[in-house]
Subunit: 567 residues, 2 copies
């Protein structure tokens, strides 16, 4: 084969980077492109229920596999996906968004086509996406097209951000040289400037050698930029205590003897807070210091000695070293840290205090379920390799109180916080999971309110016969909003649904739909060996009191409420 169509070229490139599922919806300017998916071995078209869900699914898939592809159609399709793209941009998720656009000749004639604004402007949607993309290409020339596509895919992967490719309908069937595919896309990071890097290393080593109580804080971008093994090696070598943020949770093995807990500023457990307060050096890797990730900006470092490791810069105290990338720095640091830690004597790690302590067995029997009980018990049901997805709302805050087994992946949109995200993300994650290992469990915790925004993506889960666990926490409305404002306002109510009827509605053939209201019922479920095996799709509706919420959520919402009225 000496030539391939441009359409196929794109998918071959994505397949080379382990993308095996493509998300999106058909639309009149992308249909010929979709044909090419079927030509590539091991690639499948998910076929989502709507474009926003498809974007969420691509995001979830990428968080598991490192890259994802989303296809929409011009105007209507691409705009529907923008909230999902914005989330991927904010939270550093690598995503290639391909938009089927009208043919070059239709654009040149400025035809008043459907899916346009009716004003002959064919670039307006591209301009809009440009605001929330790492880079974009609006393909217009077949000769430069492969190079442009490679450039976009590379940047999506390297920078872990969404990129936008506008692809005219008439170009996808035009051939390009097949031999271009035999040179892999260069995914290597460029090397750091040696002088800048040396200065960074020297300064960090100086701080390390002077510190008595250094700690390592693992945040979201550690995983996203693939620095987990470097961090683990650094912990092993230095024996510094290591903590994660809420967004960084699952970025470090919580069973590691040096793991000290999740740090959420003043809302942390007291031992964790004391450990951070007492630190005289903080090595913060992949930091994303947003409000919900920091206990409402309540970080209370006593020390000014903070080193932030980022994908595109290093910050040491008040100084910034732009362009110095953390991955190379971490590796050089590993090679040179020995002499700087000679003096260091490892501190004791506080034993992780799960809230299980607060729930005694005598209370458990046939009591009504509460969030507190749920989040303390669920840790023991999690197992190695699980993918655990928690919706913005009570779940994302509750999950912080749990302990993750090793090699879990936690997915939670803590910064962007788009309600409904997780239902789409679960579809993406479960498709990625079965590509890795069919026994890998995908576990969703979503509120009854959030579920309503994106419910139809469960239909796609059913279509593919995937086998996730869907825990629907039914607390009768938008509890998180109630905590901010409008405790009993009707705008925080939702129409109650018969949630257990959803799976049969979507024509699931082999499924469970269970409602649990008492601790006893949930305890039984968690100790059931069959239930522990992901043999079918399951919905577990967990009935909870209306105003019941994890304690750290309540504190955070008080902060938001105050901030909104601050003048």
């Amino acid at each position: 084969m000496s030539e391939v169509t441009l359409g196929r070229y794109i998918f071959e490139r994505l397949r080379q980077l382990l993308v095996q599922t493509v998300f999106g919806l058909p639309g009149d300017f992308n249909l010929s492109l979709l044909d090419k998916i079927y030509e590539v071995d091991g690639l499948r078209w998910a076929g989502n229920a709507n474009e926003l869900n498809a974007a969420y699914a691509a995001d979830g898939y990428s968080r598991v596999k490192g890259l994802a592809c989303l296809i929409t159609t011009f105007g209507v399709g691409e705009l529907s996906a923008l909230n999902g793209i914005g989330g991927a941009f904010a939270e550093h998720v690598g995503l290639v968004h391909i938009v089927g656009v009208p043919s070059i000749s239709s654009q040149a004639k400025q035809l008043l086509l459907h899916h346009t604004l009716g004003n002959g402007d064919f670039t307006v949607f591209h301009r809009m996406s440009n605001n929330i993309s790492q880079t974009t290409a609006f393909i217009s020339d077949i000769k430069s097209a492969p190079k442009e596509i490679d450039r976009c895919i590379r940047e999506a992967y390297i920078f872990q951000r969404p990129v936008y490719i506008g692809l005219p309908a008439n170009l996808v069937d035009i051939n390009v040289p097949a031999m271009l595919l035999s040179t892999p896309i260069d995914l290597s990071l460029r090397e750091n400037d040696p002088e800048a890097q040396q200065e960074v290393i020297d300064n960090i080593l100086q701080l390390v050698s002077e510190a008595s109580n250094p700690i390592i804080l693992v945040d979201a971008c550690t995983s996203r930029h693939n620095c987990n093994s470097e961090v683990e090696a650094l912990v092993n070598k230095t024996q510094f205590p290591v903590l994660t943020t809420p967004m960084g949770k699952s970025g470090f093995n919580e069973s590691h003897p040096r793991f000290a807990g999740v740090y959420v500023g003043t809302m942390s457990h007291v031992e964790v807070k004391n450990l951070v307060d007492g630190a005289d050096l903080i090595l913060a890797v992949g930091a994303l210091l947003s409000d919900f990730n920091t206990g409402s900006f309540s970080y209370s470092y006593k020390t000014k000695n903070v080193v932030e490791f980022h994908a595109d810069c290093i910050k040491i105290k008040q100084g910034t070293y732009p362009g110095v990338q953390m991955k190379e720095v971490l590796n050089v640091l590993l090679d040179n840290v020995d002499s700087a830690i000679k003096h260091y004597s490892p501190v004791t790690i506080p034993s992780p205090t799960l809230l299980t302590n607060s729930v005694t067995n005598s209370e458990v029997l046939s009591a009504l379920l509460t969030q507190e009980w749920l989040w303390s018990k669920v840790s023991s049901w999690f197992k190695e390799g699980d993918i655990i997805i928690t919706e913005t709302g009570t779940s994302a805050f509750g999950i912080v109180q749990t302990k993750f087994p090793n090699n879990t992946i936690g997915i939670s949109q803590v910064l962007w916080g788009s309600v409904g995200f997780t239902v789409g993300a679960t579809l993406g994650a479960v498709m990625a999971a079965e590509e890795i290992d069919p026994n890998k469990r995908v576990i969703l915790f979503v509120g009854d309110g959030s579920l309503q925004l994106t419910v139809q993506e469960i239909s796609t889960m059913v279509k593919w016969e995937t086998r996730p666990y869907l825990f629907v926490l039914n607390n009768d409305g938008y509890t998180i909003d109630r905590l901010i404002h409008g405790m009993s306002a009707t705008y925080n109510d939702i129409q109650p649904w018969n949630n257990l009827a959803l799976l049969p509605l979507f024509n699931a053939k082999y499924y469970d739909a269970i409602q649990v209201s008492t601790t006893d019922e949930l305890e039984k479920l968690f100790s059931d060996e069959d239930f522990a095996i992901n043999s079918k799709i399951r919905m577990i509706e967990v009935m909870l009191p209306r105003m019941d919420a994890p304690i750290n959520l309540i504190k955070q919402m008080e902060f938001i409420s105050k901030m909104n009225t601050d003048t």
Copy 2:
């Protein structure tokens, strides 16, 4: 009351313009704003299932009542709504989109808040919306706020386009003078430049006086810019034949003796096509000449004498008169047209040929349903005052073949063509309809594929105990896409749902859910007097053959298919 909060001010203004329902979702930066809705008499908060649906609902509401309001929250909420806003922009629908944004002080401090991109840029979403808005305001100063709000509302109403208001959470509770509310927002059009208008009128009268076979063509913007009565008066006075486009359908009384049919270029009925081909003057009012509205640009005027009346300009043959607005021109024309039409002798109007003719009674008995049969029979079931909503897809093309009773409102997103639009639009339309007259029927025709994108908005219809007719045309997938490309491709398949289980799932208490497969069954339904009364919410699933489609859709899709491969 000498002062009102800024939040209440907005809603009082909207209420003055007959807005009685506000669409959207609660979110942490708009909660205090929502409180103010409950302070205004006769105003209600719809509380939608997601933001895109809410935007569609606002669009549907506005097409019935002339203006609508949508409220979302910063970042996540507003981006989800953009496809709906784009549709309102393309199709000239007046809409006020209010976005609850972080407080002034949060913005000033560039806090790394949730719902941001994490880069301190608080204006990025405003910039994105700016591309698809008539005008925008990002409120930052309480003093100028009322004036800015009035300006935006005025432009939404006058230009029938979406406007964007970014409203910081901390400002909604600050007071502004109540007396501002006693001066109504000035909704008058500015007067046309007298000289330009005189030239326009002279030129039109000259063309009219020279024409033997003039016709009037009514398009979408006639209704949107409120020129229906001017057009009707012009037809009554001149006796010129009048036609509508697909988007203009319902813009003129189809029972009027001078109504000659729907013109869809070469895809029109032959008598209609002959009438237009034979015309030597076309007065085109409110033209929106997009592909699907013109039979794929197949307008085949023999004459060069075309006058286009637009909201913001008049085009006469090749000349454009910018800024000359059609409403005033039509009124002046009415006053002066008498002498120019003295010579005119009215031509005979072709009798409207419904496709009923092609379906004989003997064929009807117990035959399987087809689109052809459905669209020919349904006309007799429509009644005066109905609001008839047809989804992009087979429905929007089929509806062109029906006859509308007088005072119907047809809603179809012919230009923007976003799949799933009508489910949201139906919620908006049915809430508007019950504000006008509780007996007013709202009738939706939507495909099984389109329904899946926005299905949860039926839950909001149930919540409000509205009573629409939801005809779900089940042809097992995306038939419209199949006709363009991929006749048997799996990407045009959808997961089949048990659609009749939807209303009970959403907890409807008083409803009908009916499936019809034969002409006999549908005939019985249409002759049932109880069924004709909108006493409850009804879903009627109409089972149709997979590849069955209205003939004009098939022709249009052949065109699209060709255009996509055109180089």
